[in-house]
Structures are given as structure tokens and as C-alpha cells.
């Protein structure tokens, strides 16, 4: 698209579509991906609603106060927040076409994401070891479903991140790879937004219950 197209179109007014205007490859990808994220948002909204309804049903089992360690959650939140800003740096260096720095920031993002998952799995393992399994009560079922779904999203985000790093290493920062990296950027930041909901509704409000 260039300014020239406007001037030629403005010179002679047309009142009907002469022919199909050009759709450059990937022009609608970002909007389409955004709509996917919005539908993902609805999935999480349903899981939040389920947790909101069932979160108080302990079935005489452990309550949030007995299970959650806020220090660990704070550390986890820090990991995800840091991974968000490092992904932002990756996008900024990508715009400047600095492939080495982009790869470096992507790798750092991946490590923070891995740390997040590691801490989360440690927490889950600790809870299950104490007998707080998903089968124990409605509260724990909805907890593991909600937090587990988020963790699964982060896992797939990491798989995607590694895939794109390999793609970038092999083919460079091509137009297609930039578009893919931008989609993953939206996905990654979106997961951080969902995590705000998780640490607020599940952990912080759970401790206040």
C-alpha cells in the first residue's frame, strides 16, 4: 500500500467496487489471532466462574490458608512479569532487525517461563503430596482446573517460543516470522493478564476468605 493508490482513486470518483482489493498475505492474521485470544478469554472466564462458585466447598478438606504459600506465588508472579517485559524487549529488538539480540531476549523469556512452570509444578507436587489432590474437594477440582489450564497455556507458549526461535535461526527475521513472533507476543502478554486474575481471585482472595 502506498500514497499513490489514494491519489489515483481520488482523481476519479467511483461509486462501486471495481474489483476485489488486494489482501496481502497475513494482513488479517493479527485481528484473527486477537479474536482467538478473546475466545480463550471466555474459556478462562468460565473457569473463573466455576472457581467462584465452588471455591468455598472444601468438603472438610484443606482450605486455601492451609495450602497456599504467598511467598511462592509472589515469586511466580515476578517470573511471569519479568518474562513479559523481556518479551517486550525481544519485540523492540525485532523491529530494529537485530536478530542476535532478539534471539537472546526470546531465550531469556523462555527461561523465565520455564522458571514459572517449575515453581508451579513444585507447588502442585507439594499439594498433591499433602493429599490435596483434585479429587479431594470441589474447591481443589476447580483450583487445579483453572490454574492447570493457565499452566498448560504457558507450556504451549514455551513450545511455540522454541519453535519460533528455531524458525528465526533458520530463516531469519522474515515477514512471516515477524508476524508469528507478534502473535506469540500477544499470546504471552495475554497469559500474564490471565495470571493477574489467578493470583488475585484464587490466591490473594483465597487467603482472605
Amino acid at each position: 500500500m502506498s500514497v499513490a493508490t489514494i491519489s489515483t482513486q481520488d482523481s476519479e470518483p467511483v461509486f462501486h467496487v471495481i474489483d476485489e482489493h488486494a489482501h496481502p498475505e497475513g494482513a488479517s492474521t493479527m485481528l484473527g489471532f486477537w479474536i482467538y485470544l478473546m475466545s480463550d478469554c471466555l474459556i478462562f472466564a468460565m473457569l473463573f466462574a466455576t472457581y467462584g462458585v465452588l471455591g468455598g466447598n472444601y468438603a472438610a478438606g484443606p482450605a486455601p490458608k492451609d495450602l497456599f504459600d504467598l511467598k511462592l506465588v509472589a515469586l511466580n508472579t515476578t517470573m511471569l512479569l519479568l518474562s513479559s517485559i523481556t518479551y517486550g524487549f525481544a519485540m523492540l529488538t525485532m523491529e530494529k532487525s537485530k536478530i542476535g539480540q532478539t534471539q537472546l531476549w526470546l531465550a531469556i523469556t523462555g527461561l523465565f517461563g520455564l522458571a514459572f512452570l517449575g515453581i508451579e509444578l513444585t507447588e502442585f507436587a507439594h499439594m498433591i503430596h499433602e493429599g490435596a489432590t483434585p479429587q479431594r474437594s470441589a474447591f481443589l477440582s476447580s483450583f487445579f482446573t483453572l490454574v492447570g489450564t493457565h499452566g498448560l497455556h504457558v507450556t504451549f507458549g514455551l513450545v511455540w517460543l522454541v519453535t519460533l526461535m528455531v524458525q528465526t535461526a533458520r530463516f531469519g527475521l522474515t515477514e512471516a516470522n515477524r508476524r508469528r513472533l507478534m502473535c506469540l507476543s500477544m499470546f504471552w502478554h495475554f497469559l500474564d493478564v490471565v495470571w493477574i486474575g489467578v493470583f488475585t481471585f484464587v490466591y490473594l482472595l483465597g487467603m482472605l476468605r
Binding site: H21, G26, M30, L31, A49, L70, A74, I85, F89, L208
Partner: protein, 130 residues
């Protein structure tokens, strides 16, 4: 003006380059502002709950919820680069629709199930038994 001309205008109004189909970019400054704000907005609720500075739990819960809502908006603007111009406003449209759906589903579920609990829970008050 044709649709294409308007698309061009919308793209140019974004961040000055139109090679990516109308999605907005951030700058180093905007990322750092967003990061700084979200660190504060995360640290304060954790500090409030971990130390129990405010004795009233309902007040604490309310503050925590408000800070979370603010932080979500901060992330939307500074990390996801939401604005009314990108993709001719369609991203904003999709988001407003989603927010409406989420609000209906969340408040509806909690409201209905709360009343169900209040009205249907058996009352285990043995003193009332004959």
C-alpha cells in the same frame, strides 16, 4: 473516501508505519512505564494480604480487586497495545464484546449460585428437631 484510504489513515495514525496490518507497536518507554506500573500494582496487593496491614478483610479484598482491575488495564494498554485505532477499531470491538460476555457470565453464575446456596442449603440446626 474509500475503505482502503481509511485503512491507510488508521495505520498512519498508529505508530507511523503500516507494514503489519494495523496492529500497534510499543516503544521502550511504554514497555518500561507498563512494567513499572505493574510491579507496583502487583507488590501492593501482595504486601496488603501478606502483612494484613488493614484489619478489615472486606476492605483489603476490595482494594486488591480494584488494583487487579487497574493492572489488567495497564497490561492491555502498555503490553498488548490496545487502542481504538488498530485494525480500524475491530480489536476494541471484539474486546468490548468479550468483556460484556465475561461480565454477564461471571456475575450471573455467582449471583444465581449464591442464591441457590442461600435458599437450598439444608440447615443443620439440631435444636429445631423434635
Amino acid at each position: 473516501m474509500t475503505t482502503e484510504a481509511r485503512t491507510l489513515e488508521a495505520n498512519a495514525g498508529g505508530h507511523g508505519h503500516d507494514d503489519h496490518g494495523g496492529a500497534a507497536h510499543g516503544s521502550l518507554k511504554s514497555y518500561l512505564i507498563g512494567f513499572g506500573l505493574s510491579v507496583v500494582l502487583t507488590a501492593v496487593p501482595f504486601w496488603l494480604v501478606m502483612t494484613g496491614t488493614i484489619a478489615d478483610k472486606q476492605v483489603t479484598a476490595l482494594i486488591v480487586l480494584v488494583l487487579a482491575a487497574v493492572q489488567i488495564v495497564v497490561h492491555m494498554i502498555y503490553f498488548l497495545h490496545m487502542n481504538t485505532r488498530s485494525e480500524n477499531g475491530w480489536t476494541m470491538m471484539a474486546m468490548i464484546f468479550t468483556v460484556i460476555m465475561v461480565v454477564i457470565a461471571l456475575t450471573g453464575s455467582l449471583w444465581v449460585m449464591h442464591h441457590l446456596n442461600v435458599n437450598m442449603m439444608p440447615i443443620h440446626d439440631m435444636s429445631q428437631m423434635p
